[in-house]
């Protein structure tokens, strides 16, 4: 920690003009920085100020979605949040369903939760693997990315794509559970539970990791609330808030799960909370596969519009095809907002419709964007060598923040 005390609270007012600080530009071509640039002011090797320069992956998703038919925004929001595709898809569809006034049937709700939880595990493993790279441990990267594959295989079996699933549509989902899914999922879950014990020895409780992460990048509870950070990072700071509990969507109101919280809010806690959430997701997947009700996977309003060829396909292959309604969807005028807990935190959608074939205003906020204060506030006072630790521990995904 630095000898000089820097006032974290009004960081933006720090005058760096006249002082003799080293200015270091990290990124965007840098193995650690991903697709963003960090402008760091250094006093010796103590970080005085960090100015994140984002926007290298700003792909104008809001602008594009306001100029396309409603259904075409589903792939767009997925591509923005690549490790959390299902959640982005779900959040958008929930908002559109609120505008349309459609309620999906219970089986579809459970399927949505199922895919979301599988996706959450892959997302956390992705985060843990990248954190490993940041700390210089390629073993963990190899482990986490390898263990992501059985779950991606499950997603592929159910939805037909590795990552960009486009699985959830207004009114329901596109495919039903295939044969043999439950047995395969059980095998994968048992495998993951066994591996999590190995992770503990080689990574989570490794003294090197503990030495590099404990008391690094601490964000206290009141600061976390004030800065409005989201997701596992918020819960690592001790705030009990999870959108699945407080804004229940899909099947989460019928499911029994815990929301793990930590106390200290440092990098080590942010690592632990991801491991704990993987355990909770494993529990949830078991529960969903046990409780999943029989029935339709698409709302009646959509089902009735299918033509005979599509209905035959639905009965034989359990595959929902799109009626012409999907292209010409015009939700009634009004505004709606929805929140979904993705792997990295809370997605917020606000959509305004004027009853036209395009959304009038399409606004969404992604978790990584709301975690930006970590760079400006938490890094201050640490040594430069701690910056990768903090960056890796908040699981920041730049394309998601830039939208």
């Amino acid at each position: 920690m630095s000898e000089k005390v820097y006032n974290i609270d009004d960081l933006q007012n720090i005058n760096v003009e006249g002082e003799k600080y080293i200015i270091l530009q990290i990124g965007p071509s840098h193995p650690g920085s991903g697709h963003m640039r960090l402008k760091v002011w250094l006093d010796g090797d103590i970080i005085v100020k960090v100015d994140p320069d984002i926007g290298f992956v700003h792909r104008t998703s809001e602008w594009l979605s306001e100029r396309r038919e409603w259904i075409k925004a589903v792939p767009i929001v997925e591509r923005i949040m690549l490790p959390d595709t299902v959640h982005a898809n779900l959040a958008y569809v929930l908002t559109v369903e609120k505008l349309l006034g459609i309620e999906p049937p219970p089986r579809a709700q459970y399927l949505r939760s199922l895919v979301a939880e599988i996706n959450r595990i892959t997302s956390h493993l992705y985060g843990i693997g990248i954190f490993g790279i940041f700390l210089g441990s390629s073993t963990v990267y190899m482990w986490a990315f390898g263990d992501r594959e059985p779950f991606i295989d499950l997603m592929e079996m159910l939805t037909g794509a590795r990552i960009t699933t486009s699985y959830i549509i207004p009114g329901g989902v596109r495919w039903d559970l295939p044969n043999g899914f439950k047995e395969r999922a059980e095998t994968v879950l048992q495998y993951m539970e066994r591996r999590l014990k190995d992770y503990e020895d080689i990574w989570v409780k490794n003294p090197v990791v503990q030495a590099r992460t404990i008391n690094v990048g601490t964000l206290k509870k009141e600061d976390a609330i004030r800065l409005g950070v989201v997701g596992p990072n918020l819960r690592a700071s001790g705030v009990y808030y999870d959108t699945r509990k407080h804004h229940p969507y899909a099947a989460y109101s019928n499911l029994d799960f815990e929301v793990p919280t930590m106390k200290n809010g440092d990098s080590y806690d942010r690592l632990l909370i991801r491991v704990e959430e993987i355990k909770q997701s494993i529990k949830l997947i078991r529960q969903i596969l046990k409780d999943i009700p029989e029935g339709k996977i698409i709302a009646d309003q959509i089902y009735n519009q299918l033509n005979p060829v599509m209905k035959k396909n639905y009965e034989e292959k359990k595959r929902v095809m799109f009626p012409a309604f999907m292209i010409h969807m015009r939700p009634p005028a009004g505004e709606a907002s929805a929140k979904v807990e993705a792997g990295r935190g809370e997605i917020f959608f606000y959509i305004k419709s004027t009853g036209d074939k395009y959304p009038y205003r399409f606004r969404w906020v992604t978790p990584s964007f709301r975690n930006l204060p970590y760079f400006t506030h938490v890094t201050v006072g640490h040594r430069l060598a701690d910056l990768p630790t903090i960056y890796g521990s908040i699981d920041y995904f730049p394309p998601e923040a830039d939208r």
Partner: protein, 179 residues
């Protein structure tokens, strides 16, 4: 939950980590797919390259309308006198005079494999395949003409061993020969 956070003392911590590493050195869980020598046969609903059934298609343009990246363009297809764009398929020989209709062509340089077009087709005319590993050397190659598009996509490594992936309790993913 805070009982998880108990710093381990360095000696046992290092020993345990090294022991675990040694365990995986002796008994590795290998999940590598030896790619060009063995290729994966993907599940039947996998969204790979696709082609269209010329006889089933009615030229309604629904796929063009739903395509999010606007990768599908409808090209004219003329049968009969004058038009030579497409040779008339069998069973349509009795057509007199030019018969104009439209057919979809996909630009692989824009396609995102969401299969909205396949699902919106009212006559289910698209033929999905599980071909997933194509790459092109020139930018003209991935914009096929309608005649080229009608041919089903060719797998690059036809003679390789076909495997399917399987969940494995010990290794996570294992492979077995495709049926």
């Amino acid at each position: 939950m805070s009982e998880v956070r108990k710093p381990r003392d360095p000696l046992t911590g290092h020993v345990k980590a090294l022991a675990k590493g040694f365990k995986y050195l002796v008994e590795p869980n290998r999940m590598t797919l030896d790619y060009p020598a063995e290729t994966m046969k993907l599940p039947p609903n996998y969204r790979g390259f696709f082609t269209v059934d010329d006889k089933k298609c009615i030229g309604c343009s629904m796929c063009e309308m739903v395509c999010p990246p606007e990768a599908i363009t409808m090209v004219p297809r003329i049968i009969g006198e004058g038009g030579k764009t497409i040779p008339a398929p069998e069973g349509e020989k009795e057509v007199k005079g030019p018969k104009r209709t439209k057919r979809p062509v996909v630009n692989w340089g824009k396609c995102i494999f969401c299969y909205f077009c396949v699902d919106v087709c009212p006559v289910d005319a698209f033929i999905p395949t599980q071909v997933h590993d194509l790459a092109f050397e020139k930018d003209s190659e991935y914009r096929p003409s309608y005649e080229d598009y009608l041919k089903p996509p060719e797998e690059p490594y036809k003679n390789s061993k076909k495997v399917i992936s399987k969940a494995d309790l010990k290794r996570g993913v294992s492979y077995e020969p495709a049926p």
